[in-house]
């Protein structure tokens, strides 16, 4: 341990601690910009590039960036004397001098960290006039890159390369011309981008944002010829409240339903319903594959991998095209919902497919891409028309002038709004496989599950494993969240050394609660923990906690599908995967991107 003095306060820290963290221990928050951390997940970005966090260290000639300077024994640090404050202000003014001034119309306004710092430092004039760097805007199905707003903090690069190992983004070119871009300055759509949206979730400015479909939905809602139904993903209810000032982890399920009804959606349904449906199909497939394997059928591939997460699906299509027969063929809950809504439900209410619009509210940006995939269309019309993020919904509710906090709690509509606790926990890492275990156990053993909570499958470690005893049949379960962790498990599968029977994978750290479309957490990992706790709390208060006991699911099979894995199920609820090449095929030579 070493002892140092920060702003006249003595602090004792471990050797190797940065001044920034030492200061935090005595309650001093030094402002940062490029620095980013999700400490529970071991995620950190500290290039020491922006110099907003500089402090004065007695005896040193230059100010020191506190995020990368290690504390030393006997050090005397001042974090807010006039020299430090002047330096920070100058640094901010210089950064802003190469940043567009159109904050009024920026998607990130109100959530922008550069804007917050400018406010905090009372910047009222911009003395540095000069050239600003310009670069073309790039729009993909999910993500918009507007790198004129980029401040080169390189958080996105860290997320994309180190955490997700996707490798779509890197800093390219030099000096004033440098930008974060895909290889050869291709567009995102031609890159190995999975649309997981983690770059968007950490971008401090409006350089990376989601494609906004709010206006498409307003148009659909105002068209009297259309019946508009909406589905809400499990993780949305655990985070939406944050946008209205509620504490992280406050469940707003009832208010969210009321708001959607007030906005004019004809039916407010729940993706939790189709999560239960996913369990019926995926759980059945899991049991079939495991039983086949145990019976010695060599054509059966194990482990089986979950397939609910579209970022993950994109990732394995890009990086593991040789393993496309390993993931479950079950569609994601979003797409199962769309398929059932536009067949069974449309038939029930007597509405033509073309007059039924399905909207999804997702914690995810990859869902925007997923619903546009060709295999999820019938004669060119998609099963899910528009997917918007939790953030877009919050903005939409505000735009619609709805007093969210004072709304009464309302219930989802029937029949696609009924769900079990198993459907809810899809929002957390480990939740899908826990839900699958609840159902698969009872289907396999024919016995009632005594304890529905599988605590051994929960947690925040990037890779977890557990052995679940199915009455003598011991299943090795693997769980990974974050695509870098997924890659490790997939490399084992490819090498033939994987000992798992089933693996759940979620692209985003924490699972959907940490999705790229959720309210910005600004590096506060405790927010993710509170959302996760809220999801488990919602599960606990549900009267039904196993997917196969959901009465609407039972009815759907009785009236329409037959049984899990039936021919009808296969045509509506299962899909196939396509290899995506990572090879460089077409690119612009040199610097034509400018």
């Amino acid at each position: 341990m070493i002892e140092l003095t920060i702003d006249k306060k003595k602090v004792r820290v471990e050797q190797g601690t940065t001044i920034l963290k030492a200061a935090q221990q005595v309650g001093i928050e030094i402002p940062t910009l490029c620095h980013f951390e999700l400490c529970d997940m071991g995620i950190e970005n500290r290039p020491g590039g922006c110099r907003v966090c500089v402090v004065e260290v007695e005896g040193r000639r230059n100010l020191a960036p506190s995020c990368i300077t290690e504390a030393e024994d006997g050090m005397v640090v001042k974090t807010h004397n006039i020299r430090v404050l002047n330096a920070r202000t100058t640094v901010l003014k210089l950064i802003i001098s190469d940043h567009p001034f159109n904050c009024l119309v920026c998607a990130k306004s109100g959530h922008c960290e550069l804007q917050s710092l400018a406010t905090q430092f009372g910047i009222r004039s911009l003395p540095y006039e000069g050239e600003q760097s310009h670069y073309r805007k790039d729009t993909s199905p999910s993500i918009i890159r507007d790198v004129d707003k980029c401040i080169m903090c390189r958080r996105c690069e860290m997320m994309c390369n180190e955490v997700q190992t996707v490798g779509a983004l890197a800093a390219v070119n030099r000096g004033f011309m440098s930008v974060v871009a895909p290889a050869f300055e291709m567009n995102l759509v031609d890159s190995p981008c999975t649309y997981c949206g983690q770059c968007v979730s950490v971008c401090p400015t409006g350089a990376l944002t989601e494609v906004d479909h709010t206006n498409d939905i307003i148009r659909a809602l105002s068209d009297p010829a259309k019946t508009v139904v909406v589905q809400t993903a499990p993780a949305v209810r655990a985070a939406l409240g944050e946008e209205f000032g509620l504490d992280p982890g406050t469940l707003v399920t009832g208010k969210m339903v009321a708001a959607l009804r007030e906005m004019g959606f004809d039916y407010v349904f729940d993706t939790d319903f189709s999560a239960d449906l996913t369990i019926m199909e995926e759980g059945t497939e899991l049991l079939q594959r495991i039983r086949g394997h145990l019976a010695g059928d060599s054509s059966v591939r194990l482990p089986i991998l979950t397939s609910c997460c579209p970022g993950w699906v994109n990732f394995f299509e890009h990086n593991f095209p040789d393993l496309l027969d390993v993931p479950s063929t079950a569609k994601s809950p979003q797409q199962m919902f769309g398929a059932i809504a536009k067949s069974w439900f449309a038939g029930k209410i007597g509405v033509n497919r073309k007059d039924l619009i399905v909207v999804s509210i997702m914690p995810c940006l990859a869902k925007k891409y997923e619903c546009q995939r060709d295999e999820f269309k019938t004669d060119g019309s998609p099963d899910v028309d528009f997917s918007i993020s939790t953030r877009e919904l919050a903005a939409f509710i505000k735009q619609a002038n709805i007093d969210f906090l004072n709304l009464p709690d309302e219930d989802f509509d029937d029949p696609l709004g009924e769900s079990s606790g198993a459907g809810v926990i899809f929002g957390n890492t480990g939740g899908v496989i826990e839900a699958a275990c609840r159902t698969a156990y009872e289907l396999h053993t024919g016995k009632a599950l005594k304890k529905v909570d599988f605590h051994e499958l929960r947690g925040v470690e990037g890779i977890r494993s557990a052995v679940i005893d199915f009455d003598g049949l011991k299943l090795n379960i693997g769980i990974a969240h974050g695509l870098g962790n997924a890659r490790k498990l997939l490399d084992e599968v490819r090498a033939g050394t994987s000992h798992y029977h089933a693996i759940e994978i979620m692209a985003c750290p924490g699972g959907c609660i940490g999705g790229g479309g959720q309210p910005y957490h600004h590096g506060h990992s405790e927010i993710l923990a509170k959302r996760a706790a809220a999801i488990y709390a919602e599960d606990e208060r549900k009267p039904i906690r196993k997917s196969h006991e959901n009465p609407s699911i039972i009815r759907l099979y009785d009236e329409f599908l037959g049984h899990p894995g039936s021919q009808k199920s296969h045509s509506l609820l299962h899909t196939e995967y396509f290899p995506k090449s990572n090879e460089v095929s077409i690119y612009l030579n040199g610097h034509n991107g400018k």
Partner: protein, 183 residues
């Protein structure tokens, strides 16, 4: 024909095919031998991602430039993303994604050559060849680059064409130098 030139020829053949299309999209089909050559370079550096710059240096020495397909192979071998490799290639001005001409013209713009009028010599080459610094003529014969001091300041301003050194070059002499290679 040397290996360098054979690749350049492939590229130009392809560029010709694309004549009339927008932009200069260059696609290089790497032969097995060329991929093997890159693999050898990477192996010599134990496929260590920390050796990226050395690998790029040596590969550019072999090929004359670093087309996208070459970067792709290097990224794969070194377990790096192509975006990262491209980032390094575009950061250092030494690395080029444009093939050098058959006769690379290098004009020294170091201090001594500069004060003796290198700038005007450079302008004359640009005018004669209708290309900018770092570019190659459409026929693939000449490219222009600047360098900083070849250690022959007594001969300033100095120009190199390939390995051949020309001293005390004046703008008037540019045409004559190029004529030697235009035959």
């Amino acid at each position: 024909m040397s290996q360098k030139l054979s690749i350049a020829a492939e590229v130009f053949a392809y560029m010709e095919d694309l004549a009339g299309t927008d932009g200069i999209a260059v696609k290089v089909n790497l032969s097995k031998e060329k991929i093997e050559k890159i693999n050898q370079v990477c192996n010599a550096y134990h496929n260590d991602p920390g050796e990226l710059i050395n690998v790029l240096h040596e590969t550019q020495h072999e090929f004359g430039y670093l087309p996208a397909e070459v970067q792709d192979v290097i990224a794969h071998n070194l377990h790096l993303s192509v975006a990262h490799v491209y980032g390094v290639v575009t950061f250092y001005s030494f690395f080029s994604m444009i093939p050098k001409g058959e006769h690379p013209v290098s004009i020294c713009t170091g201090t001594a050559c500069y004060v003796r009028g290198a700038e005007m010599v450079l302008e004359e080459f640009k005018k004669e060849l209708h290309v900018k610094v770092g570019e190659t003529t459409p026929d693939g014969r000449f490219s222009i680059n600047c360098l900083r001091c070849v250690g022959a300041c007594g001969l300033a301003p100095v120009v190199l064409v390939g390995e051949k050194v020309y001293g005390r070059v004046s703008p008037d002499g540019v045409k004559a130098i190029l004529e030697e290679y235009r035959k």
